[in-house]
């Protein structure tokens, strides 16, 4: 209020003095009347929660419909809804996303993220495909090779992850750099492009160590032939002897990239083993691209954390104790420094929620009560407030002292 009217109190009249006061007096009786007059039918529809459950189901109950051998170490598993459970339709997804499968291996419940290799349209038709390569000492893949067959029931998450083409952000020319089984999300993207789900062009630079290891060779050839302006695949082989025509030898170097790609007018998507990421980091650095042009699929479990800068190497072989609180249960478990806290929890038959196993999704987020952890410098997806209040992601954290922690329990 300004000085000159400080003492003059302003009195409002909206309609008239009587009407204004009367309207006030009528507020409560009027509201009561409106409530009394309303319907007493319960509300049964909630379209936004229904859409949310379709797009992001908490779980999908699947069974294996059939298994196709792709190479001598790779199989494609076709999943359909399990008729014995409530999953009737499969969630649609964005090409490049993954499913987190939950599998019990010899009494230990674990999760693994696998890129969906089929087209988003296939989900509408009622199936997903996932292509898995058998790892030499793979805890899960050995089990899968021995146990999975048509009819096997598998529980999956909804589609997850952020490794997809985003038209408002990315260049229309996509370069997919895939190493080994890292080709799988690009098969889905290639399909999405040729089926006109995505309006983009995809150049795949596909690195393999042996010719025999190349997955989807015939299939991708066909797509290239049918859609020459939309999909191109360049094979890069690191083995000594190469018989494949038109392929490149060695690793995916900046020279090879330059040869096939308009570097400054492309968005790069990278999916492959850790060693390829390390190599490509150096190669792509030569182009001085802004971070927005390079997107990497979440890493998955780190196999050599003890080789990362900053990791206390002297502790690598040490086993620590973790006191774990999960709701009303408290238990002490052993944990190897070079294995993630999540793996230690799973070995001890705790099965906290987890999906990406890359520090990104936040499902395993836990409270560190005491002790020291080494957090992977890549993929530290903690919120700033998580850091302040000691929350961390067990999937990307390694014990370097005895710990006490509180973990979530699956819903």
């Amino acid at each position: 209020m300004t000085n000159n009217n400080k003492n003059k109190k302003f009195n409002i009249t909206v309609k008239s003095n009587t009407k204004d006061l009367y309207s006030f007096m009528k507020l409560v009786p009027g509201r009561k009347k409106r409530i009394q007059k309303a319907s007493s039918e319960p509300i049964t529809s909630d379209p936004m929660n229904e859409l949310a459950r379709k797009l992001h189901p908490e779980r999908q109950y699947l069974i294996i419909d059939n298994i196709k051998d792709e190479t001598k170490t790779t199989k494609t598993f076709k999943f359909i809804p399990d008729p014995d459970f409530e999953t009737k339709e499969l969630a649609y997804f964005r090409a490049g996303q993954y499913l987190s499968l939950k599998v019990e291996v010899n009494g230990v419940l674990i999760t693994r993220p696998y890129s969906i290799s089929s087209s988003p349209n296939d989900a509408l038709k009622g199936f997903y495909e996932i292509t898995i390569r058998k790892e030499e000492h793979g805890f899960l893949t050995n089990f899968i090779w021995d146990n999975w067959s048509a009819g096997t029931e598998v529980v999956s998450s909804g589609p997850e992850g952020f490794f997809y083409y985003e038209p408002l952000r990315d260049k229309k020319s996509i370069v997919g750099i895939g190493g080994g089984s890292g080709i799988t999300p690009f098969r889905s993207m290639a399909r999405a492009i040729t089926e006109s789900i995505l309006d983009a062009k995809l150049t795949i630079l596909y690195g393999s160590s042996e010719e025999d290891d190349i997955i989807y060779y015939e299939e991708l050839k066909e797509l290239e032939k049918k859609y020459p302006n939309k999909v191109k695949v360049v094979y890069i082989l690191s083995c000594e002897e190469v018989t494949l025509e038109g392929c490149e030898k060695g690793f995916i170097s900046s020279e090879i990239i330059k040869k096939y790609v308009d570097v400054n007018n492309s968005s790069f998507f990278i999916c492959g083993p850790q060693i390829m990421y390390e190599f490509l980091d150096k190669e792509l650095k030569k182009f001085d691209l802004p971070p927005k042009k390079i997107r990497k699929e979440a890493f998955g479990e780190i196999k050599n954390i003890d080789e990362f800068p900053g990791f206390p190497k002297n502790l690598a072989e040490k086993t620590f104790k973790i006191i774990v609180h999960q709701e009303n249960i408290t238990k002490e478990i052993p944990a190897l420094a070079k294995e993630s806290v999540l793996v230690a929890l799973e070995r001890a038959h705790f099965a906290p929620p987890s999906k990406c196993r890359s520090g990104e999704c936040g499902f395993c987020r836990s409270l560190l009560i005491s002790g020291e952890i080494f957090i992977s410098p890549i993929g530290d997806g903690r919120r700033m407030a998580d850091k302040k209040f000691n929350f961390f992601h067990p999937c990307y954290s390694y014990p370097i002292s005895d710990l006490e922690m509180e973990i979530p329990k699956d819903a």
Partner: protein, 520 residues
């Protein structure tokens, strides 16, 4: 002596459903009073809408633009008092530099905080408007005084005192903003500037109740606005920590599937993990809509009047947010203000109707977080979020396979509108982009139909009648509500304040019980 129907063997004195703003504060406040509490939250972290998420190098604030009722150290508001004096939580808040910049087809003005500065800025833009705007703020102050008086009277105000000393409050309580601004003879252009905050109410000026709107505008302008330094997760985790320290229990990843009721009295809850937990008191941060239609068990315990109440009220809107992590700083991009209201014009009726369809709404409230928190993202980058509103019904027929295209089309349009309003370009700087729709809000909070704005505060169902009828909504004994669907209408500070009120109401009931025991 136990009250009728209450059981003796309870597991918790009070169970709180949902760790949103209202639920967290209610829990912390009860724990502070030494009550044995359990807070149950379906998500794996607290906050509800008050949250944040990480994409690449950026951490985005989910929904908060600015916190009202916080105030400075020397002029603290209710939320600062609650956080710093009552609960003593460990969270840092930063002041937002200016109120907002409003850009319409015939307005482009930066509004300062401070009532006098604000009035002068409007007068400069709209000569001759000063008296009407001063009177607007006078009414807002009178409303505050009246609330303070009603609060002191513990809900039993003396009618003669109200009539004599708070007549401005009484005489505007039943009217819309438009009706009162008409009576104030406020020029259209001045209204357009003041009414810009309507975006935080989400209903047209002809329907927003004056009391709640004036109180909100006055709170922002007189006390300034604040934002948590480490996003909303900072204060929600600080509340989580405080609750634990005070001996409260919290269960995350757990959904309350049923509120168990027997003979009109709450007896416990049943969770998604199959546990039945006994209690005589439940405070629900979930809305009345969800509680009566989904949670009360058995359904026969829900009286008709409860359904009628929910059906009489109008569910508010949901939101659509474009979160942008940009690889250029705010200065480089030419973004100098924290908060922008960009509207085609101030025809709020028209815009409200646009929100019922899947076009690009010509109205947005956009924030550049770096202007208040310069280091909220790495050097040389910035965070912007563009918010508009939608009626959930607009999205009801979107098929999963169309969903991304629909949201991207709208997001693209909103970014373009922002660029054009400021005469800048940002699209080529998008490093991270996320788009939240009504579906997203439903997904993470399970709020009914993704609604973020509670029940619409039309005059008949605004804060005054809600508070006056506060004691008439106890259809089930032991059931209390807290949060954005509550007595004080929606918004962060309302929900936080309502959480405290819910706790105090339950404490009151518990103490009555304790006393009657001692009396025996």
């Amino acid at each position: 002596m136990l009250k009728m129907n209450e059981q003796e063997d309870e597991d918790y004195k009070v169970i709180i459903i949902g760790a949103g703003n209202g639920g967290l504060v209610a829990t912390a406040r009860l724990a502070l009073a030494g009550v044995k509490v359990l807070l149950i939250e379906q998500h794996n972290l607290p906050g509800g809408f008050a949250s944040s998420f990480v994409r690449g190098r950026f951490e985005f604030e989910t929904s908060l633009h600015e916190l009202a009722s916080f105030g400075s150290e020397s002029n603290p508001g209710s939320i600062r008092k609650l956080f710093e004096d009552t609960l003593k939580i460990d969270a840092e808040f930063l002041e937002i530099p200016e109120a907002y910049r409003v850009i319409t087809k015939d307005l482009n003005v930066i509004m300062p905080f401070g009532v006098e500065n604000f009035i002068n800025a409007i007068e400069k833009e709209v000569p001759g408007s000063k008296e009407s705007v001063e009177n607007f703020f006078q009414l807002a102050r009178d409303i505050n005084h009246a609330f303070a008086y009603v609060g002191k009277s513990k809900g039993n105000p003396d009618q003669t005192v109200l009539l004599k000393e708070h007549s401005n409050f009484l005489k505007t309580a039943a009217y819309s903003v438009k009706e009162v601004e008409d009576a104030l003879d406020m020029p259209e252009k001045a209204r357009a500037i003041i009414n810009a905050y309507w975006a935080y109410m989400g209903l047209p000026m002809s329907r927003i109740n004056f009391t709640i709107f004036a109180a909100m505008v006055n709170s922002y302008i007189s006390k300034g606005a604040y934002i948590p330094k480490l996003r909303s997760t900072e204060f929600t985790l600080a509340l989580d920590k405080k609750i634990r320290e005070l001996g409260g229990n919290i269960m995350y990843n757990t959904r309350v599937e049923k509120i168990l009721v027997k003979d009109g009295q709450v007896t416990g809850v049943e969770t998604s993990k199959g546990d039945k937990i006994k209690t005589n008191y439940v405070i629900s941060n979930a809305s009345q809509t969800l509680v009566y239609n989904k949670l009360i068990y058995p359904k026969s315990e829900v009286p008709d009047i409860a359904y009628k109440e929910v059906n009489a009220r109008i569910h508010g809107l949901s939101a659509f947010v474009v979160y942008l992590g940009l690889d250029a700083s705010a200065e480089e991009l030419g973004i100098n203000e924290y908060s922008y209201f960009i509207m085609g014009d101030m025809d709020t009726e028209k815009l409200y109707d646009e929100w019922k369809e899947l076009g690009v709404p010509k109205g947005q409230a956009t924030v550049c977080l770096n202007v208040a928190i310069p280091d909220c993202s790495p050097p040389g980058t910035s965070i912007i979020y563009i918010t508009t509103l939608f009626s959930p019904e607009a999205w009801a027929n979107v098929k999963p396979e169309e969903y991304v295209d629909v949201k991207n089309r709208i997001a693209d349009g909103l970014i373009t509108d922002f660029e054009e309003a400021l005469g800048i370009s940002i699209k080529e700087h998008i490093e991270e982009l996320e788009v939240a729709t009504p579906q997203t809000f439903a997904r993470y909070t399970r709020t009914y139909n993704g609604v973020i704005y509670g029940y619409e505060p039309e005059s008949w169902d605004s804060v005054v009648p809600r508070l006056m009828m506060m004691n008439e909504h106890y259809y089930i004994k032991g059931l209390e509500f807290a949060g954005g669907f509550g007595r004080q209408c929606h918004g962060y500070s309302s929900a936080l304040n309502d959480g405290e009120l819910a706790a105090l109401l339950v404490l009151n009931k518990l103490q009555v019980r304790v006393r009657s025991k001692v009396d025996e």
